[in-house]
């Protein structure tokens, strides 16, 4: 298996290098303040890192991502599992869930800021509410697909509630959790910047707004680059290895 995987990684690296080279060349040719080459963006990146501003803003944004990620996963999973297991509850709440699912991120954010002020809590609630319904829908699917035969087995052998959850239910829901986590990270890291831009005075989203007002595209791209690297590191370094471990029993 080492051959094809190694070849895949090499192709990806070459592809990335070509992209970066094209960026540099285009920037040099355009020679414009609004289309800076890679080298200029890297200079800004180094300057912002040295001043500590980049790490501070990145840290604040990552904290908001983490808080709303955990909140939306826990609350969304609880809601989704409950709806998947109880048809009555599902019928009662389905319209709400569909409504929330289709509510634009901008509307949720603006409303929460209007009602609760430009606060940290309102910002995190806005990001959470944007992610929660997709988590709920994904885990509702998982809860509906639970194997009734295994649940019956657990009931005959008098499994405790904790044992049913830990050894019968959660192993079946693991793939759905990871699907929700994966799409959740992708959604949250886009929404969080909008939420910051609209109502916070710190974070990557706020910093991008500052650069936008100054028409400083190099600054915008420097922050975007740093942010993208962190998110990819989370995906490849944390989420994917966890997923492989959790699903290892399937070979």
């Amino acid at each position: 298996m080492a051959g094809p995987v190694g070849a895949g990684a090499r192709t990806r690296l070459i592809s990335l290098a070509v992209l970066l080279a094209l960026w540099e060349a285009a920037g040099q040719i355009a020679h414009s303040r609004v289309a800076p080459p890679l080298s200029k963006v890297l200079v800004v990146l180094a300057r912002e890192t040295a001043s500590g501003a980049l790490l501070e803003n990145l840290g604040v944004t990552l904290w908001r991502i983490a808080a709303s990620f955990v909140l939306s996963m826990v609350l969304g999973a609880a809601l989704g599992i409950a709806m998947g297991r109880r048809p009555g509850l599902d019928r009662a709440l389905d319209v709400w869930l569909t409504g929330l699912l289709n509510l634009p991120a901008l509307v949720v954010t603006v409303l929460l800021y209007v009602w609760f002020g430009l606060t940290e809590a309102a910002a995190i609630a806005a990001v959470t509410l944007n992610k929660l319904p997709t988590t709920a829908v994904t885990l509702r699917e998982g809860a509906r697909a639970l194997d009734p035969q295994l649940l019956e087995m657990a009931s005959v052998f008098r499994f405790s509630r904790g044992r049913v959850l830990g050894h019968v239910v959660l192993p079946q829901l693991a793939p759905y959790f990871f699907a929700a986590a994966r799409s959740g990270l992708a959604l949250i890291w886009k929404v969080v910047l909008v939420v910051e831009l609209l109502g916070r005075s710190s974070g990557v989203g706020f910093q991008i707004e500052v650069y936008f007002q100054e028409f400083d595209v190099a600054g915008i791209l420097a922050y975007t680059l740093a942010f993208a690297v962190v998110v990819l590191a989370l995906e490849w370094g944390v989420l994917q290895p966890l997923e492989r471990r959790a699903l290892a029993w399937r070979r």
């Binding site: 035969q149 295994l150 019956e152 087995m153 009931s155 005959v156 052998f157 008098r158 499994f159 044992r163 050894h167 019968v168 192993p171 029993w249 399937r250």
Partner: protein, 220 residues
Amino acid sequence: MLRVDVREKSFAARVVLADIRFELPPGEILALAGPSGCGKSTLLRLIAGLDRGFIGRIAGPARVAMAFQEPRLLPWRSVRDNLLLAGAPPAVAAEMLGELGLAEAAEVPADRLSLGMARRVALARALAVAPDLLLLDEPFVSLDAAGAARARALLLAAWRARPCAVLLVTHDLTEAAALADRILVLAGSPAGIAEQIVVPEAIRRHGGEAAARFAMSLRA
């Protein structure tokens, strides 16, 4: 003592079971026989407490174990953990796995087993929790003749070591005659007890030829 008194069990508007009354004292093996689809498994599910939608009363011991038609193991846990999670004491689990020839497979994830092995694990799990009432729903179906005979011998050996009340659902009269003290034949629509057969002491649990001949005489 298991006391069953099922007045009526219906699915939608169709009555499938009616007026089924019997008792199963501790230490007895009772077979529930009858044609496929006559409601044997439905009755077993009522007794297992998996379906409470019926008119009547069922009272039995608290410690119940069951071997289903399918093995129903947790595929993401090892063979040993499947026994422990069901409530088997570790020493008993190890002993039971040894007796059923599964000692080597104790650490294997349950989803890597062949069907025959998975059935034996399911039987080991049901026996290892030391139940007062053991429910068996066609546990040897889809095993080949030799495999089924071996599994029956293992079941009897485990039962002799620790006799408990056993309720065995089977469509195979030979199997019923080879294992049971008594056979209840379910028939009709809605199904009721059509016949009660006491297996003669002389051939009880001798298996093989004697059981086959006795089953033949019942069919005639």
